[in-house]
């Protein structure tokens, strides 16, 4: 077996191992910098966004199809408007290999999102966060540390929400307080990663 072939096999195994052991970032963990290009060609860079935002960056793993995401379309723009005005940057990221860039673009236009929806080809950004489902939210502080990770609220149906976990966390961050509930869980659609 040639040395080149052995190195290739080792690298392939190493890459597979990294993918298998991609751990979800939780409160206190730092997220590596990344750049991602929007469907309109605009480029977005995490470090740039953090330096320009007064409070931090909200990253929402999103889907054009997941029935646990769609009910939030009736209020996600209001949330974004409220917290962008308080100094946060809001990004949605679509990492599903089964949802095309065109579908992401159409879905964003249809819902008149006021935040960019970034197509994450080969789920590189999802792997950086260890994101596994939609919707799944990470709020990063100015030093790229995760301040909140989890759900938007305890119920996708607006009228049935009893706890507003994301809003609570953002209000505390905006007020300069420590987030009291830093991590929450909920059922969601698994992110369909590239094979």
């Amino acid at each position: 077996m040639s040395r080149k072939l052995i190195i290739s096999i080792f690298l392939a195994f190493f890459a597979l191992t990294i993918n298998l052991f991609s751990v979800t970032k939780g409160p206190g963990d730092k997220v590596d910098n990344f750049s991602i290009t929007n469907y309109d060609g605009s480029s977005y860079n995490l470090s740039d966004a953090l330096s320009k935002s007064d409070k931090g960056v909200i990253v929402m793993f999103w889907s054009t199809e997941c029935p646990n995401v769609q009910p939030y379309n009736d209020r996600i723009n209001d949330y974004a408007k409220e917290y962008i005005s308080q100094g946060f940057t809001v990004w949605a990221i679509n990492s599903n290999s089964t949802e095309s860039t065109d579908a992401v673009s159409e879905h964003a236009k249809k819902n008149s999102y006021i935040f960019p929806v970034l197509k994450d080809n080969n789920n590189k950004v999802a792997d950086l966060f260890g994101a596994v489902k939609t919707p799944e939210v990470f709020v990063l502080g100015k030093d790229n540390t995760v301040l909140y990770h989890g759900r938007i609220s305890d119920n996708k149906v607006s009228s049935e929400q009893t706890t507003h976990d994301l809003k609570n966390a953002l209000d505390e961050i905006a007020a300069g307080k420590e987030v009291s509930v830093k991590e929450t869980k909920a059922f969601g659609c698994g992110i369909k990663r590239a094979q």
Partner: protein, 149 residues
């Protein structure tokens, strides 16, 4: 013990204690627990594979627990019609919990709640394997065959 029993043999559990009793009742059989919902396309995709697995192994100390995470309001309108269409003629379950995250933490604290999600336990209740995401018949059967001849 159970909140209700629907005509299509769907039992709802309202607490983790009720779910523990269900899990305890599986001891003595190799048990596959599949968390799913009718709103989850990959869950729907793998569902017939699991029904086929059940039919091929039901006489060999094998038990399949479908645990639906559908909304309570969709049990009659979506869940039961789906089970009928899939030919499920055995008891399955629906989680009707006030705090679904309790179920996530009870099953596995590292689970983030993404579905489909499958656990396979041996006859003593020891965890054999966890499947994240949609799988096919061959993948499920390969695990079952390790403990059932």
């Amino acid at each position: 013990m159970f909140a209700s029993l629907h005509s299509q043999e769907v039992r709802q559990f309202k607490s983790i204690d009720e779910f523990k009793l269900i899990m305890d009742s599986t001891k003595g059989k190799v048990t596959l627990v599949n968390f799913w919902a009718t709103w989850c396309p990959p869950c729907v995709k793998e569902f017939p594979e699991l029904v086929k697995l059940y039919n091929n192994y039901k006489d060999k100390d094998f038990r399949l627990l479908f645990v639906s995470l559908d909304d309570n309001t969709e049990v009659e309108s979506k869940l039961i019609p789906f089970l009928k269409k899939q030919g499920v003629d055995f008891l399955s379950y629906h989680a009707d919990l006030k705090k679904p995250e309790d179920l996530i933490d009870f099953i596995d604290k590292s689970w983030q709640g993404e579905i489909p999600y499958t656990k396979i336990y041996d006859k003593e209740g020891k965890l054999l394997t966890t499947f994240l995401g949609s799988k096919n018949y061959e993948q499920f059967e390969a695990e079952i065959k390790k403990t059932i001849d």
